[in-house]
Symmetry: C2
Subunit: 103 residues, 2 copies
Amino acid sequence: MENELFKALADPTRRAIFEKLANGPLNAGAVREGLGISQPAASQHLAALRKAKLVREERRGRFVQYEVDPDGLALIAGWLAKYRAYWPARVDALKALLKEMDQ
Amino acid sequence: MENELFKALADPTRRAIFEKLANGPLNAGAVREGLGISQPAASQHLAALRKAKLVREERRGRFVQYEVDPDGLALIAGWLAKYRAYWPARVDALKALLKEMDQ
DNA sequence: ACATCAAATAAGTCTGTGCTTATGTATTGA
DNA sequence: TCAATACATAAGCACAGACTTATTTGATGT
């Protein structure tokens, strides 16, 4: 489960798909655009992301809309939290990042 | 770089090694214990974790001590922060934590 | 210098996985 | 009902990567 999550993120194409979906929901076909892969390849990547709870699907007639599933992100946040003892060294960098994101 | 990070975490044995090191520094030999893998396998995993900035090494005579490198964790935190729109409650918790650390 | 020990690297094998083309499954509208 | 569209699944191929044994590198102590 945690394994599916990290395995899903290990592939750069899947991370690219995830980032696209983070900007808003897309149909499976739209996800594929600009990635230079076949339709089945995109479908397989989406299946892997679904298994990892990083995205979820929603039928819209003939189309299938995909969107970010917060569950996967929460799992990563949970994993990361286990090691927060090691964060202090990087607190400043993190703060800068969060501040930057506020704008 | 971000790729090395997620690829490193995609392997369960490497995550196990990382968790062991999160409890405190260990020599390469000690890392291997209980994992049921050969010495070279452990060495290769440690090399992958090093490349991902998840661990760092320190020569101690004939031994090499490994410990968690906060850089890798910070990279994950940074990646995760990009998607904070999908987990508002948790980012607030992180911000609170950072604020708390200021004192 | 040499034997010993810790760890890294080399080389080869075998499994996993990301891709492709071909085909199947839903859903829509004529 | 039938053709067209959107996506998923099947099957096979080629490469990546996790393991092994064998060897090399580096450090210590006699």
